[in-house]
Amino acid sequence: MSRVGALARAEGTLLRRDPMALITAIGVPVIFVPLLAWSGIYDDNSGGLVAALIAVTILCSAYINLVTALVARRESHVLKRLQTGELRDSEILLGTAAPAIALTWGQSLVGGVLVVALIGALGGSDIPLAAVAVLLGTAVFVLLAIVSTAFTRTPELAQVTTLPGYLIPLFLSGVMFPLDAFPDWVQAVAPYSPLNPVVDLLTIALAGSRGPVLAPLAILVGWLVLSGFAARRWFRWDVRR
């Protein structure tokens, strides 16, 4: 792990020195929380608000941030250089993703504490289930970020290519708008989208709402397998010749 730590520390230093990456990773969730709080969807539902905050954080801090970072490192041949060393491929990806993952979890924790302090106690307290949801959600979106690099040629293009991977799961998760505002077919598809089960599990764990746990867990595991396969199949370590 110390080998991954060496790379992760360097990546952390780079993140601290990149204002745009920091704004995307920290600023967007910071803006989203008050917006969601004022939208009225989460009146008297601090658990639901925390679930929404974590969902948005996973998208911004883990997904968008990581697509940009990986493409930038591929285009400047950094990934190729790292492959010449002793790190395994999985260690290179983990070390590169580590700051984004740490940021996601740190923001989720701090955001959760802030919401509780400002709005009120959570309706539920199943912390292990919440942790599983965050862990699986992060893993799925890290893998989806790796997959997204396959059709993202430059870091600048990442602003565009990440939009579908950001907006579609966000809308289908129900954290922005109630899903019953959408047509029936959208409501039928939504539970199978990658962020929806994360929000479902977090809502059960933190808002105390009732619902099946196994189905969203199974869907997340399915996404994990699918995105893992796609990442293995399509991720490129160097610029295409």
Partner: protein, 292 residues
């Protein structure tokens, strides 16, 4: 794999979208030697080297580094090898020290970072961000990353490209020191004089094929000799190519005794010198498609 071989390549092919960049290359790099891979741009040097380094799979053929497949048995090979890539791969936002510290942290064994910075003359640039380094300084940092892990085999892809003469001389001195300590070096270069002086053996690639292999002397000897003399007289019929600059005549010939005999008969007592082709002359002939 022979005991003395550090690298063995057998019938290596590498193709991209139907284009064969490397076509049936076979070569052996012995332990402790400097083996130079020469060729014009697009000859297939980097394509071959990337497969040998384990960065790309061969389309066909086998590569063994210290007896292992460098791609499939990466974990067995990597602790013993280091690579200096032809193109960047440095994190532009880190300082020289941070870059070296990060890289050293990923290795099984490493030299002290200060020692490595001294070796490549970057100590006074330790706190400078990589994007603010000159091209030559970045190249020296590339080399620093390659040697920080005390490798047994060093792969250098154009190690002196973009360096000023002083940095180039310093780099070659360092390479010589590494060779003296038993490190095996496989490198590509465009600097033929340096390859001629430093390489124990070399191979010249042309259109993806090894067209010459051996010591620099052997490779040059396989090409036509140069017979040089001075005259202003009309020349006799000579075997070979004749070049006249002022009153100096250079005859490029594969049959030196016959040429000397013709000249002796034409002008007895003519002062004639003869020398083998230089590596550069041999290389240029190969690049121009002239068979020896």
């Amino acid at each position: 794999m022979t005991e003395t071989a550090a690298v063995e390549v057998s019938d290596l092919w590498r193709s991209y979208k139907g284009f064969d960049a490397v076509r049936g290359v076979s070569l052996t790099v012995r332990r402790g030697e400097l083996f130079a891979l020469l060729g014009t741009n697009g000859a297939g040097k980097t394509s071959a080297l990337e497969v040998i380094e384990g960065l790309a799979p061969p389309t066909k053929g086998t590569v063994r580094v210290l007896g292992h497949d460098p791609m499939r048995e990466r974990s067995k090979v990597r602790p013993h090898t280091a690579v200096m890539l032809q193109e960047g791969g440095l994190q532009a936002g880190l300082t020289v020290t941070e870059t070296l510290r990060m890289w050293a942290g990923t290795l099984t064994r490493s030299r002290p970072i200060d020692e490595v910075m001294d070796l490549v003359d970057l100590r006074d640039r330790a706190r400078v961000i990589v994007r603010q380094l000159s091209g030559g300084e970045r190249r020296r940092l590339d080399l620093a990353l390659a040697i920080v892990g005390k490798p047994e085999i060093l792969f250098l892809d154009e190690p002196t490209a973009g360096l000023d003469p002083e940095s180039r001389a310093r780099t070659w001195l360092l390479v010589r020191e590494l060779l003296a300590s038993g490190v095996t070096v496989l490198m590509t270069t465009h600097h033929l004089h340096e390859a001629e002086r430093l390489a124990d053996r070399l191979a010249i690639l042309h259109h993806g094929v090894v067209v010459r292999e051996g010591t620099p002397t052997q490779v040059a000897a396989a090409h036509a000799h140069r017979v040089v003399f001075r005259t202003r007289r009309a020349l006799p019929s000579l075997i070979g190519t004749v070049d006249v600059v002022g009153d100096t005549v250079t005859v490029t010939t594969t049959d030196v005794p016959a040429t000397l005999a013709v000249l002796d008969a034409w002008e007895p007592g003519l002062e004639v010198s003869s020398r083998p082709a230089t590596l550069e002359e041999a290389f240029l002939e190969i690049a121009a498609g002239v068979a020896a």
